[in-house]
Amino acid sequence: MSEDVYVLGVDMIKFGRFPHRTIDGLGAEAALLALDDAGLGIKDMQALYLGNVGHVTQFVGQKILQQIGQTGIPVVNCTNACASGATAFREAYLAVKSGEYDLVLAVGAEQMGKGLLGNAGGGDDGIPREGLLGSRLMPALFAEVGMEHSRKYGTKPEHFAKVSVKNHHHSTLNPKAMYQIETPLEDVMGAEMIAYPNTKLMCSVNVDGSAAAVIASAKKARELGMGRAVRVRASALTSDRFTQRDLTLPDFNTCTRDAARIAYEKAGIGPQDINLVELHDCFATAEIVHYENLGLCGEGEAGAFIDSGATWLGGKVPVNVSGGLLSKGHPLGATGIANIYEVATHLRGEAGARQVEGARLGLTHVLGLGQACAVHVLEKV
């Protein structure tokens, strides 16, 4: 089958901290928002794909249906670290692409709790590995990736910090972002150091959140009306193939480059054709390396690229206009679908104050530590 696949409805809740709500309640809210956006009901959905990390063994997808309508459809609960939501979206896309279904629902939901992700690595002997065998904490891993870029190309802490300045600025235009606060360069660089060169304001925000999308076959989209539909031009998912240091320092670059290459090939386009990007800025250092990984600029040019203003709203290729994970927030399982929502909203011309003018093609990228990398290309119909 080579029929096109469309997003008919997509939405997200405003990200925040909701310790007194349930994970299925969060997911159900986004599911209903996306169904409303598509003008459809749960009775129209033929399958549900759910992305989540923290509660994935608890049948979150089924519990969502218990809250909004138990129709007996197949439910697949997906976990792929920070790529869980994008993986659920991709599974939904593939199911429609295969011709098996005409209308399916993809939901991403996460309830995070505060603090650092992971644990201190205490083994059976009770000895914490953290600090004795380096750090396995996310801020340090992504800091090491940034320092690798510094080593190769002379990238400075200011370059990384500018990513945070930009994304926090963008989030002031997004009412669904966790924060709407301007953070000047001196504030970003002067914030508490977490893992050099990443300060606290260069780390993504742990929040709770959910997002959902209704995905349709070409036949169904034509039948229901294409008015606000967005075409999925490409979907790519990779894992970490063998590279020199991957087993020591997780290689986030190669799997991203692989996914980007596959997505551009499938879409029959190049990075120069992309009008906006939502990429995985889990840390400020990550956004810098992904400029090159996604081909938005040449090798070694990422520092100059952020300096040039190219990735600001109004620039050549705006990146993370939503505010990104750094300020919109990063509810792991929801992030991949929230990115789809952001790009689709621009392609529909409905992004209000942060609208990327004339957007026709957008790219989303997420990266799960482990590794799982997903890239999607969306197109205005």
Binding site: G134, E148, A195, L249
Partner: protein, 142 residues
């Protein structure tokens, strides 16, 4: 368990071993086909998929700091700041560890600096009251 094993202290990673003379060293597993070296066991080579038995090799004690971060915030009870280091061991594999005996700031820690692997006793003891041994990186002298 042999007398030698009983005589050796407990270690923080299984690939930290002791020679017949009691001196600690790190042991890698080398692919018989492509020569890639790993510090953990596997069913086949990640790189070339060879299933031939791996060969145990002594890892070198010198290398180069490939990249690092200086960790200022960690879990409760973890001493900060410390330098999280990724080191390319000379002619072998890369290895994650903590770089010590250096000021933990970007003025003193530089990518590309030469380092050595050293072995130190930890504060931690096992049930029998024996002290654990780990490996660390230190700047290479001279």
């Amino acid at each position: 368990m042999s007398d030698t094993a009983l005589a050796n202290p407990p270690t923080i990673v299984p690939f930290l071993k002791f020679g017949a003379d009691g001196a600690p060293y790190l042991e890698g597993q080398q692919c018989a086909d492509c020569g890639e070296i790993y510090t953990t066991e596997r069913m086949a080579c990640s790189k070339c998929f060879s299933r031939k038995p791996f060969k145990a090799v002594r890892l070198p004690t010198t290398g180069e700091l490939y990249t690092f971060s200086i960790v200022h915030r960690s879990y409760p009870g973890i001493k900060v700041p410390f330098v999280s280091a990724t080191v390319d061991l000379d002619g072998a594999c890369s290895l994650k560890g903590t770089l010590i005996d250096v000021e933990p700031d970007p003025e003193h820690v530089k990518t590309g600096m030469k380092v050595e692997v050293v072995f130190r006793e930890l504060e931690h003891k096992n049930k029998e009251g024996r002290t654990y041994v780990s490996y660390f990186f230190v700047p290479k002298k001279g």
